[in-house]
Amino acid sequence: MLDELLSRRLVILSGKGGTGKSVVGAALALAACARGKRVLIVEIDAPLEASRYLGVARVGTKEAEVRPGLFAVNLDPAAVMDEYVRRVVRVDMLARRVLDSPVYRRFFAAAPGLPELMVLGKIMVLEEARASRFSSRPRYDLIVVDAPATGHGLAFLGVPLAASRAVPAGPIGSNARRILALLQDADRTALVLLAVPEEMAVVEAQELHRAALDELGLRPIALVLNQCHERRFTREQEAEILSLAAEDATGRLARGVGLRSALAAARRHIRRRKLTRFYQARLRRLLPLPTVSLPYLFDEDIGPSSLERLARRLEAA
């Protein structure tokens, strides 16, 4: 799957909240980095997410190299808009006057879709950026975008389409069309769906898949099923656990550890593992997408070493 993804330059992750988009996005970025790519992680209005997992200082609104070859940026819509104003106005003093005016602030705070359009426009600029003025090499080989959660993610990705319809003429319309073309270009952009083995997350992934195809013209290319509980007991051991639990077996397992609570823990695990398998099968049946399963993390803290483990799993998938 990684090969498939890395042949694109823009990867957008979307799925229900709580499915671990930031973590999976960062792991994907690390996997690409390990293959020698220059990678940019884009967070949208979430300054703490990537930094929290990568163990680096708060990611700012300017792209910063957080590890060799790995860059991160937090696109705060208001800051992106300000930057745009500065570029258009050029004269610093005038730009400041615009930026300071309450009219501008209020307009930007509420103009529907404008923040989303600005952020997507910035992502497009980053995708098109060259390594240097005279180079044909792109500045980033891969850009990983952590998109807002499904309901809003759809609205977010739907903005260029809506804007190109609402304002066919003028710079807004033409920018919206360019962004839309980038998103819909399956050679440049990969939409990756994210879910966890739970009913609602899976239903949302299916819904997102349908809406992306039918309403937005975006083709999801893969699904990552995160937080999977993998088998850790053999079939015979599981049967043994269930029968011991059924007869309410007791005894001492280790110092201060009773068999009864061990069996309760094991039954919780078995239930989760079966659910994982159930949803894996359902997704295989219902979504015509290559699916990668990532393991549930039992780490003391979700940090860089957790991400590296996930990155290796992505590489192996």
Binding site: G18, L48, V88, A110, P112, V203, G258, E300, I302
Partner: protein, 395 residues
């Protein structure tokens, strides 16, 4: 008793559920917010209230958790007989149709038939009212006002959209008012287009720069549509403003309450802390903070351990111990975050253990509700489990 604080949290929430007229359930995505909202609504209905559960979530979560294929834009009464044959109350559910609410609002406030048509036919409006992010929140507030006055219901439980910054929801009406504020936008756009030609003769030089800027990057077509849109809204502004003020009043009043929902992961606990502070700053009535899906620590809640060694295969024993250590590590990770949050907000948190199975029917919802409120005859054994989790969370 260590579980005292936990029960206090549950009791306060149960009281709010019995007395208030509007409960707004907020939280970041993926924390079981919709399930919590639906479960609380069901509990209130089982206690005899006439409850409407309303979701603004563009995804179909509430429907899924109520065991329905889809929700409609108008309240639909649910059949509670399967979970409670003699329930005294009643439960309705609906989803918010943003576009229809917006249309209805325009119909209501437009000064004339011509103004109404001008808005409804405006290209900008047609996209804005349904397709773009943000309008859900605007319209939710509007709908809330209408539903809270509906005599069929004595409680409305509102499930808010899973914004990453859940506060967007609270601030949306202010933003809308800022946007529609006649003194800002009329000043901004009207002189430009009413003149019918490209003129920069506006009141101030900053205004001129701003217009020039807007022209350069938004383009004339956009400005034209936008100014038409706002001109059409002229006269509606006062109505909008009045409604927005009433919503604020409603939400700040004694009849309303905010329920915050978080998960045990650090990022959602951080969001809950932030949201709690903002609620307090805005003087909004807080009625409870629910942390869902808290994992038990199998190594901490062992209870008395028999002396007699367990007679099981050594390999299996090692596997079990490894599993328990893993689960214990997750629990400790969560516990640290929960304890920090509890210290920061100085409110009793309501901790809900992770469920054995997904919830996607009324029966499951009922169980969730009982766990949250910690009461009900059937839920009594679980109370102990809850107390244990609380005890662990407090170290």
């Amino acid at each position: 008793m260590r579980s005292g604080a936990a029960d206090r949290g549950s009791r306060a929430l149960a009281a709010a559920l019995a007395e208030r007229r509007v409960l707004v359930v907020c939280g970041s995505g993926g924390v079981g917010k919709t399930t919590t909202a639906a479960a609380l609504a069901l509990q209130a209905a089982l206690e005899g209230r006439r409850v409407l559960a309303c979701t603004i979530d563009p995804a179909r979560r509430l429907a899924t958790s109520l065991g329905l294929a889809a929700l409609e834009g108008r309240p639909r009464r649910l059949d509670l007989s399967r979970v409670a044959p003699r329930a005294a109350g009643a439960l309705w559910a609906m989803t918010l149709d943003t576009r229809r609410t917006f249309d209805a609002l325009v119909e209501k406030h437009a000064s004339s038939e011509a103004a109404r048509r001008r808005i409804l036919d405006n290209r900008f409006y047609r996209q804005v009212s349904s397709a773009l992010a943000g309008s859900h929140e605007y319209m939710a507030m509007e709908k809330l006002l209408e539903l809270s006055a509906d005599e069929r219901f004595d409680l409305v439980v509102l499930d808010t959209p899973p914004t990453r910054h859940a506060l967007d929801f609270l601030e949306a009406p202010d933003r809308l008012m800022g946007f529609l504020d006649a003194s800002v936008l009329r000043w901004f756009l009207k002189p430009y287009f009413v003149a019918g030609r490209l003129t920069l003769k506006v009141a101030t030089r900053t205004g001129a720069f701003a217009l020039d800027l807007v022209d350069r990057f938004l383009g004339l077509q956009f400005l034209q549509d936008l100014s038409e849109f706002f001109l059409a809204f002229e006269g509606m502004y006062e109505g909008f403003k009045e409604r927005a003020e009433r919503v604020h009043e409603l939400l700040r009043g004694e009849d309303s309450g905010f329920v915050l929902v978080a998960g045990p992961a650090r990022s959602t606990l951080d969001e809950a802390r932030y949201f709690y502070r903002r609620l307090r700053e805005k003087d909004m009535p807080f009625v409870g903070l629910v942390v869902n899906r808290v994992h038990p620590d199998p190594l901490a809640d062992a209870g008395p351990v028999p002396r007699r060694p367990a007679t099981i295969d050594a390999e299996l024993a090692r596997g079990l111990l490894r599993l328990m250590e893993d689960q214990s590590r997750v629990s400790r990770r969560e516990r640290r975050g929960i304890a920090r949050l509890e210290a920061d907000v100085a409110e009793p948190l309501i901790l809900v253990p992770e469920l054995d199975a997904d919830v996607h029917d009324l029966r499951g919802l009922r169980e969730v509700g009982e766990r949250i409120l910690g009461g009900g005859g059937r839920a009594r054994p679980r109370r102990r489990e809850k107390a244990e989790i609380h005890a662990q969370a407090r170290g």
